[in-house]
């Protein structure tokens, strides 16, 4: 009994201390946001090593001409950002928004259409969007108006372990400008000779399919935004190839993102196809330095409009309706859309690749990268990015992607593709009602 009382007293004291500290924390946290002046912009974005770092460098560059300028960067992971955005939009609390925030390209259409009152467009920002790849800008164009400034480059790459390829008697050149059928043949051979598959990915995620689709300029929606999951030649070809890759053991399906990264960091898979941002994860395995190289994607031989280029992910900056518009627009124009110095700073230290095409002409992009066997991979990627076909993601991108992901799981378990895709189509049509 005595013991219990002591525990309770201890707990009460801890609680009191916690409350006091929480109170203090709140006080010190309040100060910076309290000093709202004409020189401060608040930004929401995620990833300290990438987006936040880029914002901090942009702040330094803008400060050279505007010494009083300050950024208040709030780290907000994308999932939280989407939830906040929905909540604020639904409750109409525009004054709680920051000036600028980062948004996944795939979520742009949906959010601008559902909550148009949260955004300001780029009409009066004086930014030349012709200096960006058309496919990337298209994500954030709604009714012909630009709502996003592309930042993070999502151009897809085929990253390969050169040491494993050498063992099997191949080079990266054998994987460049090839078709998926050729890829499958070589990959089977590599698997047979070295025991290493060349691809991995999350089961039920349709990232690979979406990249294959976009490489042919196709998507799950037509130009009017109607779902085209049935009668979609590019989709059928993609699913068929995906199935062949998985059945041949060339593509290993895992359950989580960490497992996916683990497959190539732990040497069990000798390559990956993804957005160029995957380089950050590849280079995290320091012991594999010099053993990687990149090339473009395989293309379909039997689909019209097929290319060797695609994209996955990527994100763009949005200006909110709560923003100091003139300052926000000028800041973005002077840094993200107009400073090669800025991109030259962030590329070597974070691998943050520009969508802004003039940056690709800089010398820094042409520097050989030791991790990738001395190849100038960044100028390669900028070159790929310019060739990515544009497609329509549509406002119902997430619904369609989930439905197709479920259909692929069913097909791999033996369901008839036509039936499974028809179900996916009706699921999306139902969601759109």
């Amino acid at each position: 009994m005595k013991n219990n009382r002591r525990i309770i007293r201890g707990a009460a004291m801890l609680l009191a201390a916690g409350l006091a500290m929480g109170g203090l924390g709140a006080c010190s946290g309040d100060k910076p946001s309290g000093e709202v002046t004409g020189n401060t912009l608040t930004v929401w974005c995620w990833d300290p090593a990438f987006n936040i770092y880029a914002m901090q460098e942009a702040e330094k560059i803008y400060q050279k001409d505007h010494p009083d300028f300050k950024l208040n960067i709030v780290e907000t992971p994308w999932d939280d950002l989407q939830t906040k955005l929905t909540t604020l939009g639904q409750a109409n609390q525009v004054d709680q928004l920051p000036d600028i925030f980062l948004m996944q390209n795939n979520a742009f259409q949906k959010n601008v259409l559902a909550y148009p009152d949260l955004f300001q467009d780029y009409k009066n920002a004086g930014i030349d969007f012709k200096q960006y790849p058309a496919g990337v800008v298209a994500y954030s164009i709604i009714d012909g108006t630009n709502y996003g400034l592309p930042f993070d480059n999502g151009a897809a790459i085929d990253a390969l372990r050169t040491d494993v390829l050498t063992q099997a008697g191949y080079t990266v050149a054998d994987f460049t400008d090839i078709t998926w059928d050729q890829y499958l043949t070589i990959a089977k051979d590599v698997l047979a000779k070295t025991g290493k598959p060349l691809l991995s990915g999350q089961a039920g995620s349709s990232d690979m399919i979406m990249m294959m689709l976009q490489s042919a300029g196709a998507s799950l929606f037509d130009a009017k935004g109607n779902p085209t999951i049935t009668d979609n030649d590019a989709l059928l070809a993609s699913i068929d190839m995906y199935q062949q890759l998985v059945k041949a053991g060339v593509f290993v399906e895992v359950n989580s993102w960490d497992e996916y990264i683990g497959t190539f960091v732990n040497n069990s898979v000798a390559g990956t196809i993804n957005g160029s941002w995957i380089i950050g994860s590849i280079t995290s395995a320091a012991d594999q330095s010099g053993k990687w190289d990149i090339t473009n994607l395989p293309k379909f031989s039997n689909v019209s409009g097929a290319t060797n280029y695609s994209a996955n992910g990527g994100s763009s900056w949005a200006i909110t309706s709560n923003a100091n518009y003139a300052l926000a627009a000028d800041f973005l124009k002077a840094t993200f859309a107009g400073s090669t110095e800025f991109y030259d700073t962030i590329l070597p230290s974070s691998g943050a690749l520009a969508n802004w095409l003039p940056a690709g002409e800089s010398k820094v992009y042409a520097e050989p990268q030791a991790f990738f066997g001395g190849d100038a991979i960044y100028s390669k990627i900028v070159d790929y990015a310019a060739k990515v076909p544009s497609n329509n993601t549509g406002a119902y991108y997430y619904e369609a992607r989930d439905a197709v992901g479920a259909a692929i799981t069913k097909i791999l378990n033996g369901a008839d593709p036509a039936t499974a895709l028809a179900e996916a189509q009706s699921t999306v049509e139902f969601a759109m009602q």
Binding site: Q90, A114, G204, N255, G405, T409
Partner: protein, 314 residues
Amino acid sequence: MPRTIPRSTTALDTESDKQKRRFGIESRRSLTGWTFLLPASLLILWMNFYPMIQAFILSLKTGKGTRLNFADPLWYNYERLFHDDVFLLTLKNTFIYLVIQVPIMLVLALILATLLNDPNLKFKAFWRTAIFLPCAVSLVSYSLVFRTMFSNDGIVNDALLGMHLIGSPINWLAQTGTARFVIILGLVWRWTGYNMVFYLAALQNLDYATFEAARIDGAGPIKTFFYVTVPQLKPMILLTAIMSTNGTLQLFDESWNLTQGGPANTSMTMSHYLYNLSFRNNPNFGYGSALSYAILIMVAILAFIQMKVGDKRD
């Protein structure tokens, strides 16, 4: 407390005086009660009932984002639920969890509580803490730990391979049956100790004489359990059954963190689908609210049935 005032002390008291004084004391008494009740009641009204009414009104509306209008017909969103294949699938999943997990968990909790209530048991405090401890773990962290344990190269596959029970790793979370099994296993691990504590508390309130009487009458431990312990614990079993049913129908964290609803939505729960509808996909708060009311109605019906079946007091 006597409700009547004692007969007047002086004969001069008139009837109206008596009335006045009675009213005075009684109203003062109830005023004290109301003063204590008022803050909590107002908070509940404001934080609980007001949003519930708003959610009901919202469930009658359709539209994207903030551009909501009353549906035509008003019950459109509710009707839509019956045609929604994904909703029907999540409904089925949730009921599979309910029907399998709740009975297993409650029986286990009951057995553990009886064992731990044995006065001759050594290290009693240790066992109780050990079994209750999973409850102190956050839902998200235990889900993530389970996901790691049951991954392709996780500890479970390693152990089974090491013992030569399986030839190749089982992809637990990528198959419908095993994915549901992992979720149920996680739920049992997380919640059995919680329910056990309720039973332990109830067991300690039981009259020890009833167990002694049973022993004198020659009943073994099993007969004592079924004919003495369980009948006396009935109100507590009813309470835990209602709470567990309620909790399982609103299951979210495990579905979201452990399996992400996969493969092909076959382990997704209703609340997970509700979250997707409102926050992840195109925000459809009207339909989401209708779904939350559907869950409320199901919880209410099941609780009502359990009370009718479980409570045999006259």
